[in-house]
Subunit: 315 residues, 2 copies
Amino acid sequence: MRIAVLAGGVGGARFLLGVRDVARRDGHEVDAIVNVGDDAWLAGLRITPDLDSIMYALAGVNDAERGWGRAGETERVAGELAAWGVGWPWFTLGDLDLGAHIARTSWLRDGVPLGQAARRLAARWDLGVTLRPASDDAFETWVVTDEGELHFQEWWTRHRAALTARAFVQRGTAAPGEGVLEAIAEADVILLAPSNPVVSIGAILAVRGIREAIGGATAPVVGLSPVVGGAVLRGMADACLTAIGVATAADAVAAHYGARRDGGLLDAWLVDEADAALVPGIEAGGIRARALPLILRDDASRSAIATAAIAAALG
Amino acid sequence: MRIAVLAGGVGGARFLLGVRDVARRDGHEVDAIVNVGDDAWLAGLRITPDLDSIMYALAGVNDAERGWGRAGETERVAGELAAWGVGWPWFTLGDLDLGAHIARTSWLRDGVPLGQAARRLAARWDLGVTLRPASDDAFETWVVTDEGELHFQEWWTRHRAALTARAFVQRGTAAPGEGVLEAIAEADVILLAPSNPVVSIGAILAVRGIREAIGGATAPVVGLSPVVGGAVLRGMADACLTAIGVATAADAVAAHYGARRDGGLLDAWLVDEADAALVPGIEAGGIRARALPLILRDDASRSAIATAAIAAALG
């Protein structure tokens, strides 16, 4: 069986760990279609935070405690760059991480598409998941605020989402990355990871053709709520939801994605057991729903959640 | 007074330390016109070994023991690049050094000329010398061998000059770097550092207009022999001299540069005291010559040699 997962960074990575466990056990193939909206040019290097978070987590070299970057990281190069005023002082470039940025950028400068570069980097490990950037094109997310438009990283990492976002816009026009539409068309199951619905999943869906491909896919589409008990699990996704007029609630996010029968995306939606009371309302909207423990806290919970997501698709 | 010094990497750096001492003491300005033939694109980054060797030495952050690179260097990033097969495994990219390469490359990619990038890097310290790449253009030295043409770094660093060189060629056409011709025209003294006469000084002189500018300059031109007692002081310059048919001897190098009265470069030539017997022959060729201790071993010897070079120009 082939499973396609739309995913952002850290949340996507945690969910993919569970999907990989199930896939290895049951002999499935997994394609991760990964957000590139967080990407940036920084110090002349191409930074792809979501692809890297997923790669590092699947490779087991991520810093689980800090929640991002490589384990055992140092910042020798960053100290030099700061002395020359190169880069963003508020955006850490670790030494090990820079290895990936330099390698990727050297390939991109040679004309290698981003997807191939991502897979070259990933080939160092046995990830068990094929990484597919949503697009090989630059498609950066910018945030409209009352103080002007900021690159997503500046809004998120520098300002910690404290400037009120009025809208999120993608800069550039993006064609789907190599193999993305095929992965969707050939999937037996399509999963939306519990990633940020706006700047992660939303930025993937904004790539030309991807939303339509999911709508036209034969596979059932199952989403996992990133909102539990009215709060986001990670990061500052509530600020993103508020900006697009969506309440920070598991049923509101489901309604935002929409029921497939009505031209939306979802066949089914998983919410946390804390939101069990929302299930009837979601189902009344034409989306099958199920409540279960949805916190990705360890290997066992990640596998159980992935198993439930696949089961929800098939049943 | 204004002093222009043509210089390669390590030997040039040591000589410039002495020239700077004299310049600070006596209130002179120093322009270092630096070889770019050793430069390379590596891992998508622009590497400028001679500019860096000089910058690090003048800044006092060089690794004097190892003879190249930064003191206290580590190789965290290089380990990652090696895992991905990016770069040259035989060419070390230290972490601190990479800071300079990344900063420089980011500026170059933004359209900043190499000379401005070099001076931006140098502005972090009080070098006391203005760094001027011989050219802002790519002008890399390639080595013709029986096994084909190799980039200079591959021949020098990887093969330790063990493949017989048939010729050295510059790739590209290079205009003089910003301020180079002015530094030569306005100099009161022009010095040729005891650098490699072929791939360092020779590659500088190969930049369009530089040899002619020196020939037409009002300042006297004094060179320092990199050959002492029939052996080169550093590196494998003898292999370079052999390739162009010049004996590894202080008088042969002087003759190679040529007497200014005959259309060559030199008004005067300094040789080591070990080569005192060569002085009459050099002078018979129309080049004033003087023998003195020429080993750049410490601050005192460096200052003494720089003082002697300036004195030779003025007297």
